[in-house]
Symmetry: C2
Subunit: 229 residues, 2 copies
């Protein structure tokens, strides 16, 4: 005679009119914001998300996608034949959480406990460029770069003091970097010379290596917050 175990999340909500509190009701559950992060550069399949979010189990991913879909942040779409696969993508409103995400990343990167040597996903690196890009240093520089992480291909364009990463389309870029995400972090934020990374066989720079070198100079090392006051 047990009652059905309806997923009654109402007890876990904050019951607070504060906008931020409602934001936490929407994306405050564990993994939710990271699922959104992986969708921020375009639609992805269930398996892609599992692969990129190390430590997230399938059942929790299912729950999060259901919740985010119910909230109107994510929608599922069936690609037309012959692909005919199901993908998840952000709604227009879902994409608009990006500035929150960027600012949170910028704030947390100043944490004394932040460890930039941990593993990092391809999407994270691309989004981190938006967080850490110093438009003042870039001035009116204009360039396009390609980043190839196995199957995942990104194009980063800089123009008019703005940086914009996208998926795909790197035929016409100034330079292409073929590597793994953590090595990009080492080069851009750790200021490890790309030649050293190339010598280890972990990175290949095709095209104008000078462009990549200038690109690296557009990024500050995130400076830690002091614990005083």
């Amino acid at each position: 005679m047990k009652l059905e175990k309806v997923t009654d999340r109402s007890g876990r909500k904050y019951h607070d009119a504060c906008g931020a509190a409602h934001g936490l009701d929407l994306v405050g559950e564990r993994w939710a914001l990271l699922v959104i992060r992986e969708l921020m550069m375009g639609p992805r399949r269930f398996g892609d998300l599992r692969k990129d979010l190390c430590g997230l189990s399938a059942n929790v991913l299912t729950q999060r996608l259901e919740g985010l879909e119910a909230s109107g942040i994510v929608r599922r779409r069936k690609l037309p034949p012959p692909a005919s696969v199901q993908v998840y993508e952000l709604t227009d409103w879902g994409y608009e959480i990006e500035p929150v995400f960027i600012l949170l990343g910028g704030w947390a990167a100043r944490s004394p406990a932040h460890d930039p040597t941990l593993p990092i996903s391809a999407v994270s690196i691309m989004l981190s460029f938006k967080t850490m890009f110093d438009a003042r240093r870039a001035g009116d520089a204009a360039m396009t770069l390609g980043f190839v992480f196995g199957e995942d291909v990104f194009r980063v364009s800089i123009a008019g003091g703005r940086l914009e990463p996208r998926r795909g389309g790197i035929e016409d870029v100034d330079v292409t970097v073929v590597t793994q995400p953590p090595l990009v972090a080492a080069a851009v934020y750790g200021k490890v010379p790309p030649q050293a990374l190339a010598a280890d066989g972990g990175m290949e720079v095709r095209g104008d290596a000078g462009v990549f070198a200038r690109f690296i100079d557009f990024f500050d090392l995130p400076q830690k917050a002091s614990m005083e006051a």
Copy 2:
């Protein structure tokens, strides 16, 4: 032969170099961000936090304050005699999370599921002003308002297209509103006429009521996101 039960939160971290992921390690636990919210307008005592965060139990509050203190976001301070009470306050770096908070609130307020009629804390209302303030509508208007919620007294100043709420110091304001936080929400966002609220006995406007009326016009009704696309 049981192992000691060290508080091993390492299993709950994301192990991700992404700045935002680390941000969630810092403030992603339940209630953490709302504790920070209540500290955003200045130091508070343990009991104050309990009172303002309805639904948060004492043990969880203790855990959050410990965690946030260990992260360098919150510090505990003993006020000098004769007060001699302990208060919690944000560190300088802790205060810098405010833009994240403001943007999250602005984004979530557009959720179809957001219910502005729920209870709201005094600090939340003050911070919501920063989220919803429309500098374009305010133009070059300059005014100061006092808000009195029982013991909690706030001063809101508008000048040069900027709005700034602070605690205390309302001797010289243009108008003072004595009421409860939800009724401010009703007046400012629900556009319920203050006279109607005053007639119910829930609000008293002391001073230039016209200033409060103009103030209300500086705020948009948050418009919902469409669920399309």
